[in-house]
């Protein structure tokens, strides 16, 4: 439909200070196609994300942003093309020219390295906040309860919910739940964090407390891929903005550039409409 725009992270902020900039990208999305029924939702996506960068995926609903994000930790699998995180092909192992799907048990080990935050928080309602955070480090990583608990308390302090360790998710506000969900993902000490519309289910005044936590994370150098409708957040925090429409990245580049001087008319229309909704 349209020529895909290659997202090249290194074209933004070519700083000599970061030596990793020159190296291989942490996430390489290479020509990813995905079909759902007869509907083609991803049409040959290419995107590189370097370590320490914050990438915002923007675009109208149905553009395939969330699907792309869910492919990165193999919650969904692409039909063609490959995603590499830290050089590892996700959900597959290479066998000569072809890729063979890995059994779920092996995919689980890959997912443990990638944190994910969901639109609906998806905290485990039958576990206390502390249990939510320490379960995976103990069960998946084999950490001792003491080590996991100590880190959990640090993380809770970082998201500003130190006193909620023994509360149950149901008794927390949406904003608090989402901050706990971020702490839970961070407890696994991931290389990469994925955010799937983390503030879409929140009231406007609860949105900011979650965005603040995410800003703190970005400032700390975490590599983040964020699907969001928060244009303001993307403009202020993201290094790279990738705008998607109809399963294709239509525009990709330095966030400030893309979001203030968009080249594609569809990006312009999308931004105009989003900013209008915000007002």
């Amino acid at each position: 439909m349209t020529a895909h725009v290659q997202g090249i992270a290194s074209m933004t902020e070519p700083s000599d200070a970061d030596p990793r900039e020159a190296g291989a990208p942490l996430v390489r999305i290479a020509n990813v196609w995905k079909k759902r029924g007869h509907n083609v939702v991803l049409k040959g996506i290419d995107l590189d994300v370097h370590e320490g960068k914050v990438v915002c995926l923007l675009g109208p609903s149905g553009a395939g942003k969330s699907t792309l994000l869910r492919c990165i930790n193999a919650i969904e699998l692409p039909d063609r093309g490959m995603i590499y995180v830290d050089g590892v092909s996700i959900g597959c192992r290479q066998d000569g020219e072809r890729f063979v799907r890995l059994p779920e048990r092996d995919v689980a080990a890959q997912r443990a390295e990638i944190g994910m935050v969901f639109q609906n928080f998806n905290l485990f309602p039958h576990m206390s906040v502390l249990q939510n955070i320490i379960d995976a480090p103990m069960r998946v990583r084999g950490e001792s309860r003491a080590v996991a608990t100590e880190r959990a308390h640090d993380l809770l302090a970082r998201v500003g919910l130190k006193e909620k360790a023994n509360a149950y998710p149901r008794h927390l506000s949406g904003g608090q739940q989402q901050r706990i969900a971020i702490a839970r993902a961070l407890a696994m000490q991931p290389k990469l964090m994925l955010f799937d519309e983390p503030t879409s289910a929140l009231d406007p005044h609860l949105t900011d407390e979650v965005l603040d936590v995410m800003k703190g994370l970005a400032a700390g150098g975490m590599t983040m891929i964020v699907v969001t409708h928060e244009i303001q957040f993307a403009r202020n925090v993201a290094d790279i903005a990738a705008v998607m429409a109809d399963g294709v990245i239509i525009e990709c580049g330095a966030a400030r550039e893309v979001l203030t001087r968009p080249q594609d008319p569809r990006t312009r229309r999308f931004l105009a409409k989003s900013l209008q909704d915000d007002a």
Partner: protein, 308 residues
């Protein structure tokens, strides 16, 4: 506006240093309307209970002395023990088969799915009575039961079916397989009630499939599984009496044997009813505590009590 201040208060933060309004407070009191109908109902229920008590105490047909003589007699107690043993075993078999079949039905593998559907179709679709008698008479179909290569291959070991299938094993297999089919559907309903986002979040944290099932999905599904399972358990306790057709000496069969000999039908039926009531009561209490355990995290937060 006398209330302007209060309205402002509601919109703002909670006022500090305010006491709960006492009897002389300006805040209007709210009371329930009188419920005359309830008093009429109380009287009607009281009369009904009094009549039942009167009958129980004065009607000679109940023959309480005979009831108490048999209540703790050896054959009745053996029957009770057999009923408990059979119920527990049948339910354990049912739950294990239920979990396996429910997981098979929910898997994306078409073969597993078809096998599970076939199992549920067959064992839900044939009467338990037929299944029981079938297992009991298995020797008619297969005189020898053994392990080996089918279609005429060598046998590793073999025992006569009449030895392998006692009335107890027949009852256990018949009831257990049938219960497995029903439990499978109950467990499947419970698993379906858990939001898919829970599975995704668990996967995203790196849990392996079995960990996701055991730690995240099953505990939440239990909320929906326990009440109908309690129903099944209590139903099964009484339903084991059907095993009397294969001459198993459970409670009902023991009682029958006695009153067929002594013709003290009514008091012995009361003995059986009392024992079933006692066992069901114990199960109901157990169910309450199990339900409470799996409701952890779902109860409303305990609010600080305002009223003294």
């Amino acid at each position: 506006m006398p209330f302007a201040k209060d309205i402002e208060m509601n919109a703002g933060t909670v006022a500090t240093g305010r006491e709960w309004p006492g009897p002389g407070s300006a805040a209007e009191q709210i009371v329930d309307p009188p419920r005359y109908g309830r008093w009429v109902a109380v009287v009607a229920v009281a009369i009904g209970l009094a009549w039942i008590a009167y009958q129980l105490l004065t009607n000679p047909g109940f023959q309480w002395d005979i009831v108490f003589r048999y209540m703790f007699s050896a054959p009745v107690l053996q029957g009770v023990a057999m009923t408990i043993q059979l119920t527990v075993l049948v339910m354990v078999i049912g739950i294990v088969i239920g979990i396996v079949v429910a997981l098979m039905r929910m898997s994306s593998d078409p073969l597993l799915n078809a096998c599970a559907q076939g199992f549920v179709w067959f064992f839900r679709g044939t009467p338990v009575l037929v299944q029981l008698v079938f297992w009991y008479n298995l020797a008619a179909l297969f005189p020898q039961i053994g392990l080996g290569i089918p279609f005429g291959g060598p046998k590793f070991f073999e025992i006569p079916a009449t030895v392998a299938i006692s009335s107890f094993t027949a009852a256990m297999l018949g009831l257990g397989l049938n219960e497995g089919a029903y439990m499978a559907e109950i467990i499947r309903a419970g698993l379906l009630s858990v939001d898919n986002g829970q599975t995704e979040a668990s996967k995203a944290l790196g849990h392996k499939p079995f960990q996701t099932f055991r730690v995240i999905v099953l505990p939440q599904a239990m909320k929906a599984i326990v009440p109908p399972s309690g129903n099944q358990f209590i139903g099964m306790l009484k339903f084991t009496s059907i095993a009397s057709v294969v001459a198993l000496h459970e409670l009902m069969h023991s009682v029958e044997t006695i009153y067929n000999r002594t013709f003290e039908t009514m008091p012995l039926l009361i003995v059986a009813a009392l024992w079933y009531l006692i066992m069901v009561s114990i199960l109901s209490v157990a169910q309450y505590f199990i339900e409470r355990h799996y409701l952890k995290g779902w109860q409303p937060e305990v609010q600080p009590q305002l009223q003294p």
